[in-house]
């Protein structure tokens, strides 16, 4: 069974909502569209207070450089364009829409009919990328990197393998799993579109063994319609966290290791796309539908009905929790994302964004961190680190503010997966410290780079 080479841990899977079909969440009364839903420059609002918007109306155009546009997922009237509390507790620019009815832009094809790659006729690769860019699609696994940029390999590189990330290695989350079971053909068409966009003949779908039904469904489908979907292969993977990390998945599926930053996956000929992103690409290219909704898992051990929702972006989290049976009394922490990499929410008013893959309600007991005790030099963190780093060392350097030491020990390679802190028997906050170091060192590198440019 294939898997990545270095490190990794195996947290309890807890996929409580795996058998729950995707439910369409109710329309919110008020939807909030942050202009900061992706990595890079924020979108720039193009509507003002009082404007009428429909589902699919452009709310914010892409900013300068790395950025994507933001679309309305509801119809109604713009209430305000103002700074609104986001999931991290800071106020950031957003468009707030009061919902009235459910009117869609006429350009969007709302039918459920499968559009195959053949139906599209002679669509050019450029056209596919342009449609993806115009639809505001970002990586939906959580990293929210603009997808259009990823599908334009820099000169000198060539895509040799498309890898579809259907690993979903985070415990609890089942959004990608359900999507594969319910929209398999759409995903396959989406993969064809990506292959076409970057002119790459081979695609792999990496799925962990804890989703045997999805593996079987897709393998059978590919066998049955081999002529229709050529060059696509399902790769079952051993269950290990963080297999869904881009670099880990490339290693697991095609056995290539991405060098340390600034090298990118494309430098080893790989392009990785989350399965949710692939579905969004299908909808954008064939149905002309911008990224306005996504699948989000609402789960937790004390949640009454752990569910998978198809929620409009901008829906307040509170509403999804209500639909899943309400907020349990003993909730200690509410995490946006999965338990390993997600972040605690400061408020339940925050909306679903393009990168919200899950909402995890932890009980008071689960959410407590253990008492921190001294490092016993067991090196469990070293064997767990999937990037081959030495977390205990980086954390110590951070405390000593030895940024040179951090840089020399490749702190910028850290993918912040949290395996080190998860495995530490002394409950040391390793990742907290490493994050500080990573941010500081990246700042130093950037400053150095700017200096070298100005000197020239």
């Amino acid at each position: 069974m294939k898997t990545f080479r270095i490190g990794g841990v195996h947290p309890a899977e807890n996929k409580l909502s795996a058998a729950q079909p995707i439910k369409v969440a109710a329309l919110p009364k008020q939807a909030v569209f942050s202009m900061f839903q992706h990595i890079g420059a924020p979108a720039v609002p193009v509507v003002k207070k009082g404007d009428e918007v429909k589902v699919g109306t452009l709310l914010g155009e892409a900013g300068k450089g790395l950025s994507v546009p933001v679309f309305s997922s509801v119809s109604g009237k713009v209430n305000k364009v103002d700074a609104v509390l986001d999931s991290s507790g800071t106020r950031r620019m957003a468009v707030v829409v009061d919902v009235e009815g459910d009117e869609w832009e006429e350009t969007i094809d709302r039918s459920d009919k499968l559009v195959t790659f053949k139906d599209l006729g002679t669509i050019t690769a450029e056209e596919v990328v342009n449609r993806i860019k115009a639809a505001g699609i970002v990586g939906m696994g959580g990293a929210t990197f603009p997808t259009g940029i990823k599908l334009m390999p820099p000169p000198g590189t060539k895509a040799e393998a498309i890898i579809v990330n259907a690993v979903e290695c985070e415990p609890y989350l089942t959004a990608d799993h359900r999507l594969m079971l319910e929209k398999p053909e759409q995903i396959l068409v989406g993969i064809q579109l990506i292959k076409h966009a970057v002119n790459c003949p081979k695609a792999y779908i990496g799925i962990e063994m804890n989703k045997p039904d999805a593996i079987k469904l897709l393998t059978d489908l590919l066998k049955e319609k081999a002529a229709q979907y050529p060059g696509i292969e399902v790769v079952p993977l051993k269950v290990k966290y963080p297999q869904g990390g881009e670099k880990q998945l490339i290693d697991a599926v095609i056995g290539r290791q991405v060098p340390a930053p600034p090298a990118l996956p494309i430098n080893v000929g790989a392009i990785v796309q989350n399965v949710g992103t692939v579905y969004a690409i299908y909808e954008a290219v064939t149905k002309n539908k911008p990224l306005i909704e996504r699948i989000i898992t609402v789960t937790g051990k004390s949640v009454k009905n752990p569910s998978n929702f198809l929620a409009r972006i901008g829906t307040p989290m509170q509403q999804l929790i209500d639909e899943a049976g309400g907020l349990p009394e003993d909730t200690g922490k509410i995490i946006g994302g999965g338990p390993m990499m997600g972040r605690a929410l400061m408020s339940l008013e925050v909306p679903v964004t393009k990168g919200s893959s899950g909402l995890l309600l932890m009980t008071e007991k689960e959410s407590r961190r253990g008492e921190v005790s001294p490092c016993i030099r067991c090196a469990k963190c070293v064997s767990a680190c999937p990037m081959g780093l030495e977390p205990y060392l980086l954390a110590s350097y951070t405390r000593l503010k030895d940024w040179d030491g951090c840089e020399k020990n490749d702190v910028t390679s850290c993918i912040e997966c949290g395996s080190c802190a998860f495995t530490c028997p002394s409950n040391r906050p390793l990742l907290d410290n490493i994050r500080v170091a990573k941010q500081t060192v990246m700042g130093i590198i950037k400053a150095r780079h700017m200096e070298s440019i100005t000197k020239k």
Binding site: R91, M346, N433
Partner: protein, 302 residues
């Protein structure tokens, strides 16, 4: 006997050759350091705090000598030693020391536990920097003190301490050397290195909240809501409101304290003034001769 003699001769000659090599190498690779650098470094405090902007006292001494060769010590100041040390440095280098006004660190947040209720709990690594990176902290104010004491840890002079009652750091003005280490350590830029002021008296806006007034008021009962009252009441144009936050220019401020009285949020504080006498009896001089052109404080009657 013979063996001992041979050993002595062999070892002795090896020693002589090695000594010769060392002597020649010492001559050849000698580093000529300006002796003034050492002299200057001797009069510096030797805390290596970096408050001057150079990597430690040695770096600062080197910079002083270089600047002296160019003809002026302008812009160079050891914040720890202050004027006396700079005069000594100037003496060594045969220059004149520039006069510099003494400064002190000011914590621009007054959000105590009572005035700024906690809405969340942070149980990660106890560091302001970590907290800042993960969210807005334990209170609803995204600009105020996080209370983990990164500034206290950064202070080399034991001049900053956490007050367990308020949850805020307090500056010991006697010990503070205005080196700026705390200011750099604070991820929210709350600590300002500010002019000490006449007789150590200062009037400061103790808030760093750049949110709109209504949001600030929700988060904290003593936050600046940018109501502009202080701007209107100030006769010396010392107060500006930028990004929903008032700021008092220490150089323009004449210490009249009118803004302090006018602030509806009690966000403006006056330091080191003698206690005010009760208003009814003597409305004349609340402060002994704070500055020229100051009207007696009667704005509350108006």
């Amino acid at each position: 006997m013979n063996v001992i003699l041979i050993a002595v001769i062999v070892l002795g000659s090896i020693g002589l050759v090695a000594a010769l090599i060392l002597f020649l190498a010492g001559k050849k690779f000698a580093v000529h350091e300006d002796e003034r650098i050492g002299q200057v470094q001797e009069v510096l405090p030797g805390a290596n705090c970096g408050g001057c902007g150079f990597p430690g006292c040695g770096g600062f001494a080197g910079a002083c000598v270089k600047a002296a060769d160019k003809g002026s010590l302008e812009g160079l100041l050891c914040p720890v030693g202050g004027q006396p040390v700079m005069e000594k440095v100037a003496d060594i280098l045969g220059m004149k020391a520039e006069a510099a006004a003494p400064k002190v660190a000011v914590v621009r947040c007054n959000g105590t536990c009572e005035s700024r209720p906690r809405i969340a709990e942070f149980d990660g690594a106890q560091s302001c920097k970590v907290q800042q990176m993960l969210g807005s902290g334990e209170t609803a104010c995204a600009f105020g003190c996080l209370g983990c004491g990164d500034c206290v840890a950064a202070c080399q002079f034991d001049a900053l301490h956490m007050n367990p009652e308020t949850g805020l750091p307090e500056v010991d003005e006697e010990k503070c050397t205005a080196c700026g280490a705390c200011s750099k350590a604070c991820p929210r830029g709350i600590i300002e290195i500010r002019l000490k002021g006449l007789k150590n008296r200062r009037v400061v806006v103790l808030c760093n909240n750049k949110d709109k007034g209504a949001q600030t008021r929700k988060a904290c009962s003593v936050g600046c809501i940018a109501c502009q009252k202080c701007v209107k009441v100030c006769k010396f144009e010392a107060i500006t409101v930028d990004a929903n936050l008032a700021y008092i220019d220490a150089e323009k401020c004449k210490l009249c304290r009118k803004c302090e009285d006018g602030c509806p949020q009690n966000a403006i504080h006056a330091f080191n003034f003698p206690p005010r006498k009760p208003k009814v009896e003597t409305p004349a001089t609340p402060v002994e001769n704070p500055a020229p052109n100051v009207e007696p404080a009667k704005e509350k009657e108006a």
